[in-house]
């Protein structure tokens, strides 16, 4: 039982890691980024390339990929999202616009990956050694992802809730119009949050590349899983994303072990639906009101 729980938690660590970037992008920059999973897969390919071609191990690879991802997010926000945000001040259509625009972005990134990496399944193994944790045999790479998720989650959560700077980030999520009144540069802050989210997506991608097979068409799977977790945890709430991710991991593992592996995904969605019916704004979401 303990072993099952640990396996589940470790699996959940991956989910949480993937979801946290999206909760930043959507919760704070208000961009519903459908291309999120594609960015993640791109980072996975990058890690693979660095590892297989240049022999740079993925952990060191993070040192290259994360800044690149941040820069990419920063540019994308500036070029694509900012005009939409500006425009939506009048029309209030940011949600729809960002869905449509990032849907396009999704295709572009996917297309670029198809052209450069092909459509094949890619995988390599790194740190694929068993580590005994309280009787459960856990792969070192997954454990690393779990640790990274917890560290990033806890750090960001503390920063966002305990510092003025973090509060300014949350402020733009709460009331965009009032933010300039207290000297917040909305554009810069939203852009930063978006870029940070992109970076988290990339970190998830690098971690996942170490133990999961991926191909250029798989991004949407991650986007949707991340969205489910983000919504379940409560929009824009990092702690919520972390806990919801871990919870999903545990539930999936328990169901796979004690019920029927055929029902794991069904259980995921069931849990998700039940949580939403019980708390319409997610586990840690603010009640009602938009």
């Amino acid at each position: 039982m303990i072993a099952t729980l640990i396996t589940g938690l470790v699996l959940g660590g991956t989910y949480a890691l993937v979801a946290m970037g999206l909760t930043l992008q959507y919760g704070i920059s208000r961009i519903m980024n459908l291309a999120y999973g594609e960015i993640l897969i791109f980072a996975a390919f990058a890690a693979f390339l660095l590892f297989s071609t240049f022999g740079i191990n993925p952990i060191l690879g993070l040192g290259i990929i994360l800044p690149a991802a941040f820069a990419f997010g920063y540019v994308i926000y500036g070029v694509m999202m900012r005009p939409l945000v500006t425009r939506s001040k009048k029309s209030g259509t940011l949600e729809v616009d960002s869905i449509l625009a990032t849907f396009g972005l999704l295709f572009v990134i996917q297309g670029v990956m198809l052209v450069t990496f092909g459509s094949n399944y890619t995988s390599y193994s790194f740190l694929n050694t068993g580590i005994n944790v309280l009787g459960a045999n856990v792969a070192a790479n997954r454990l690393l992802a779990f640790a990274l998720a917890v560290i990033i989650g806890a750090t960001l959560f503390t920063v966002l809730t305990r510092t003025r700077w973090g509060t300014t980030i949350r402020a733009i999520a709460v009331n965009l119009d009032a933010a300039p009144l207290v000297g917040i540069d909305v554009n810069r802050t939203a852009r930063f949050a978006f870029a940070l989210g992109t970076m988290l997506a990339a970190s998830g991608g690098v971690m996942i590349s170490m133990y999961q097979t991926f191909n250029a068409s798989m991004g949407v799977v991650f986007t949707m899983k991340a969205l489910v977790i983000v919504i379940m945890g409560g929009l824009g709430n990092l702690m919520g994303a972390l806990i919801a991710g871990l919870l999903l991991g545990v539930v999936e593992t328990l169901v796979a072990t004690y019920v029927d592996p055929g029902l794991t995904l069904a259980a995921t969605y069931c849990l998700f639906l039940v949580v939403l019916l019980w708390k319409p704004a997610g586990l840690f979401g603010k009640a009602a009101g938009r």
Binding site: A3, T4, T7, L11, Q110, L114, G118, S119, N120, Y121, T122, S123, Y124, S125, N128, T129, G130, N137, V138, A139, Y211, Q212, T213, F214, N215, A216, S217, V221, E252, T253, A256, T257, D260, P261, G262, T264, L265, A266
Partner: protein, 383 residues
């Protein structure tokens, strides 16, 4: 229609999943072979017709985006809009079935390769011009049951197997067949579960399988699952004496990632490494595509194209005649001498095993070129 004299090319079309969920499989087993074959034929001056003239192949290709509505419409387009001479089939059991009525209606022979179905005899009745080249689930599971029984008799393994299968056409077909085959062979299934497509964490299933006490572990799995299972079995130090997994074991990337560790892993398909034609094909494929073909379906796909090429050479561009030729003729291909039985290819390798870096055929054991399986599989190297 157009007579051979007025032509400058033979139009061959296909719709394939270049994007979407099926792109991973299609990009290994099907598309590279289409490309290789077209390239080789055109290098040689084109397709040869009965009168000895050669016409280059003009390719029309569509992406079905892994959606069955798309593949249906693309085939319609190929047949009625582009009026191609021949249509090559898409990848996947479901898609081959989806387009079968269209091939039939428009009179195109359908050389379905990446489709494993026990219903092939029925389909041949329904669609006279359909050809099914990769066998049915029973063929593979009976071969597996045979191997297991032999090993049991030799005292290598116990009578229990643990089986997991992916909840998709392929997995279901095979597990259904396997239950039957194992029961017939008197083998006990100690653990039997089905998991959804997209599962990434197999740890719970592996530990349950280990706990079941079975010496044999069978997974009717898709490529991502196969890769994950291999890695996670190593982490969990799960060492069944027979380890048999589904699609993906024969993919080049599998070998690249796992190196020597894959020694002893079994799967569907296989190659007779002494068959020079096959090995030569593999070399050409690797050279042209930049990566090796897989060890199961690829060579059969290539074989199907050679059959088509030969049938055209014998009967010209008349699709009716070509179909008839495919049904009745005997062909010399990479697989050696090939003759279809009731529009189905029966001379297939139904089981293979990684031995010294080559995925050799082990079943049917009585066919020439088969190698004896090396069992039990050695435990994973210590970490």
């Amino acid at each position: 229609a157009v007579s051979a004299q007025d032509r400058t090319s033979v139009k061959i079309g296909y719709a394939i999943s270049k994007t979407g969920a099926n792109a991973g499989g299609a990009g290994i087993t099907t598309l590279p072979n289409y490309q290789l074959w077209v390239h080789e034929v055109n290098e040689a001056g084109g397709l040869e017709l009965p009168d000895g003239t050669r016409l280059p192949i003009e390719v029309i290709e569509y992406d079905d985006r892994s959606a069955s509505e798309e593949v249906v419409r693309a085939v319609e387009r190929l047949a009625t809009q582009d009026q191609v001479d021949f249509i090559l089939p898409p990848w996947g059991t479901g898609f081959n079935l989806a387009v079968a009525p269209l091939f039939d209606r428009f009179g195109y022979p359908q050389l379905a390769v990446s489709a494993v179905t026990d219903k092939a005899p029925e389909f041949v009745q329904r669609w006279k011009k359909s050809f099914w080249l990769l066998g049915g689930g029973h063929d593979y599971t009976e071969a597996l049951a045979q191997i297991l029984n032999d090993q049991k008799a030799a005292g290598t393994i116990n009578n229990d197997v643990a089986v997991i299968s992916v909840a998709d056409g392929f997995g279901i077909d095979l597990i259904t067949a396997a239950r039957q085959s194992f029961a017939d062979a008197g083998i006990n299934i100690a653990y039997d579960v089905t998991y959804p497509v997209g599962t990434t964490d197999f740890t719970p299933m592996l530990s349950e399988a280990a706990a079941s006490g079975a010496d044999t572990f069978v997974a009717f799995s898709y490529p991502p699952d196969t890769f994950a299972l291999t890695q996670q079995a190593q982490v969990a130090q799960y060492n069944p004496k027979v380890l048999y997994m589904g699609v993906g074991v024969g993919f080049p990337v599998y070998q690249a990632n796992n190196g020597d560790k894959i020694e002893g892993v079994m799967s569907l398909g296989g190659i007779d490494p002494t068959n020079e034609a096959v090995m030569d094909y593999r070399a050409r494929h690797t050279e042209f595509i930049g990566q090796a073909p897989d060890w199961w379906g690829s060579v059969v796909t290539y074989n199907s194209l050679q059959m088509l090429q030969e049938a055209i050479k014998r009967r010209g561009l008349d699709r009716e005649a070509v179909s008839e030729e495919l049904s009745n003729g005997t062909f010399e291909t990479v697989l050696g001498e090939v003759k279809l039985e009731d529009n189905q290819l029966r001379t297939l390798w139904f089981g293979g095993q990684w031995q010294d870096g080559v995925f050799v055929a082990v079943a049917p054991a009585d066919r020439e070129g088969a190698v004896a399986p090396r069992l039990p599989k050695a435990p994973w190297p210590a970490q």
